[in-house]
């Protein structure tokens, strides 16, 4: 039988196998327990720590549940108005071409109100990274329909399910930006299992490494859950995500640069 270590033993430096990255502030995350935002924050910050680029990084937070990302991400960070993060990031990167600049945005922020800013930053080939947290809903404002809400999916503004005849079809923003010559790397990931987290983290790393190439924008979608908005337990929401979101938003690379 394996020998279990006691709590005081576990925290001894020689026994530590994993610890919270210093690039997350010690503040308690404001996200609902089980929400994917926290894991997405963590892997981005871990990559920045591993690359040793904290002092070279400038982030842009959105309006959405992750508006408070600036409380948790221990890098210099600006909070943009709803949807405009890619415009904010564009200016930062143009003024500091050697810095690593990224935005972190939800689906309402990026694919509804900020559609123009997203498409044009991608089309100009801004040398930044966009992280797109797609949970198919407006989490922050209490679960309204998002542009990414699935057909038939219930939300507070589609209480009988999304009727595509009157409410339109879900917008596949990631496939859309992949068609633009300005994007260098476009991928869709998830963070619901340890193996998905590992893959997503590799994508995050590649997206940051790409900024050294100066060849265009890297776009990383993370399909995520919103257990509160979907009115499910965290576990149910992850299962529902696998069964319903993944068929519509298939996980994997959509456009890959082979420079690295």
């Amino acid at each position: 039988m394996a020998e279990f270590k006691t709590n005081p033993e576990i925290v001894q430096p020689e026994n530590v196998v994993y610890k919270r990255t210093e690039l997350l502030t010690p503040k308690d995350l404001s996200y609902c327990p089980g929400c994917g935002h926290g894991t997405a924050h963590r892997i981005i910050m871990e990559v920045i720590e591993e690359m040793g680029i904290q002092s070279e990084t400038i982030a842009v937070a959105p309006v959405g549940c992750s508006v408070l990302a600036y409380e948790f991400m221990n890098v210099d960070i600006q909070q943009a108005s709803h949807g405009r993060a890619p415009a904010v990031a564009t200016a930062i990167k143009r003024l500091f071409p050697d810095k690593f600049v990224f935005t972190y945005q939800g689906d309402g922020d990026l694919a509804a109100i900020g559609t123009a800013e997203t498409i044009h930053a991608c089309n100009r080939g801004e040398n930044i990274t966009i992280f797109f947290i797609n949970n198919g809903i407006y989490g922050m404002t209490g679960g309204q329909m998002a542009p990414t809400t699935l057909p038939g999916m219930k939300s507070s503004t589609s209480p009988y399910g999304r009727d595509v005849a009157t409410m339109g079809n879900p917008l596949k923003m990631t496939e859309l930006v992949a068609t633009l010559p300005g994007t260098l790397y476009v991928t869709r990931q998830a963070v619901h299992t340890p193996s998905a987290v590992r893959k997503a983290k590799r994508a995050v790393r590649k997206a940051f490494e790409n900024q050294k190439l100066n060849k265009g924008l890297s776009f990383v979608e993370i399909v995520s859950n919103c257990n509160s908005g979907w009115k499910m337990t965290p576990l149910q929401s992850n299962e529902w995500m696998v069964d319903n979101m993944f068929p519509f938003y298939p996980i994997g690379d959509i456009k890959v640069n082979d420079d690295k």
């Binding site: 890098v75 210099d76 943009a80 564009t90 143009r94 003024l95 800013e117």
Partner: protein, 360 residues
């Protein structure tokens, strides 16, 4: 050495921005101010001084680019005309809330709606009373010549950084489009990294081990903190009112009547003064140069000398409300406006003076 040139107002402004050490311009075309970006592009600012000039996808994107650049402690600006400035209002409110320095030029055209491309002064309320949401103030400079279009670029950046506040230059289609001679300042260097670090320690330029991470935001979910933030903003606006009032007087020494007018209207009033004085009417002019802070005291003081004040505006009557507040009913205050893109003639202003103030 300073340089004398013959230029359009819009071009003089653009050239002066380069010379003031601007780091970035972000804009979207709209008449009558498109020459600003056209001039900057033609100048290849990136080669000339390292200044970034970028045509954005919309005025909304442009003002948010300004937010991003300003949050990094850079000298950044945008320019537009009335409908475009309306689109920028949410962004301007964020910039004011986050206390970022920047320069915004509005070359005003007639409205409402798409209105006309001809000059107007109908954005006074929007510029001086808020414009966007929330309790905030812009510092508002009103140029009346091509020379001031140039001078207010440097002055605007100076005030913006002194108070960490957006500065709006409220011009109009006439001043933007007309050509006059202009004396241009010598080239100022752009900020160095060391200067940014020292002068704007709040700027997001990469967290170093010697300090906490910098955050640019206008948000605080705790109302008590938000109220405190608003108190601080109001304190700043009072300090601006205390220190930064600028105005100019013409022929006021012996004046029995006065015009109050800014920008193009003030230029026309100077001609009206000549005409009126030739007829023996002693009239002077007070020209506010800052619209916020408004020269309330100077206008109030004038009421001990003049019998009546005519506000001349290319609007249906906006600045007159501030004049009335300053005058507090001591003397008669009337408004004479042409609008929708029409510019007053000097003689019709004299007629209005006779009819509304002297005879009335």
């Amino acid at each position: 050495m300073k340089e004398l040139r013959l230029m359009k107002g819009n071009e003089a402004f653009a050239e002066a921005c380069i010379r003031a050490g601007a780091d970035g311009y972000f804009g979207y075309p709209i008449t009558p101010q498109s020459e600003v970006m056209e001039y900057l592009m033609a100048q290849k600012t990136h080669e000339r001084t390292g200044m970034v000039t970028l045509q954005a996808e919309s005025e909304i994107a442009a003002i948010n680019m300004v937010y991003g650049g300003a949050g990094c402690g850079k000298r950044v600006l945008t320019s537009s005309s009335s409908p475009g400035i309306s689109l920028k209002q949410e962004g301007i409110s964020y910039i004011a809330g986050a206390e970022l320095p920047c320069l915004i030029l509005n070359v005003v055209r007639g409205g409402p709606g798409l209105g006309t491309i001809q000059p107007s002064q109908s954005d006074y309320f929007q510029s001086t009373k808020g414009g966007g949401h929330g309790d905030y103030k812009l510092i508002v400079l009103a140029p009346a010549s091509v020379q001031e279009m140039a001078d207010f670029a440097g002055l605007g950046f100076e005030l913006a950084f002194k108070y960490r506040n957006p500065v709006l230059i409220l011009s109009d289609g006439a001043i933007g489009q007309m050509m006059e001679k202009v004396l241009l300042d010598v080239q100022k260097p752009r900020f160095t990294m060391e200067e940014i670090r020292k002068n704007t320690p709040w700027a997001t330029i990469g967290k170093t081990p010697d300090r906490d991470h910098n955050i640019i935001t206008s948000l605080d979910l705790e109302s008590i903190k938000m109220e405190q933030h608003n108190h601080e903003l109001q304190k700043k606006y009072r300090a601006i009112e205390e220190n930064e009032v600028r105005y100019e007087k013409f022929s006021c020494e012996d004046a029995e009547y006065a015009f109050v007018a800014y920008g193009t209207s003030a230029r026309i009033c100077q001609k009206s003064i000549e005409l009126a004085r030739a007829e023996g009417i002693k009239v002077g002019l007070l020209r506010p140069i800052t619209l916020f802070p408004f020269p309330k005291k100077a206008i109030k003081e004038m009421t001990s000398k003049v019998k009546g004040i005519l506000c001349v505006e290319m609007s249906a009557g906006q600045m007159i409300e501030d004049v009335q507040l300053a005058v507090e009913g001591r003397v008669k205050v009337e408004h004479f406006g042409r609008y929708g893109g029409i510019v007053h003639s000097p003689s019709e202003i004299v007629e209005a003076l006779k009819k509304q103030i002297i005879g009335g």
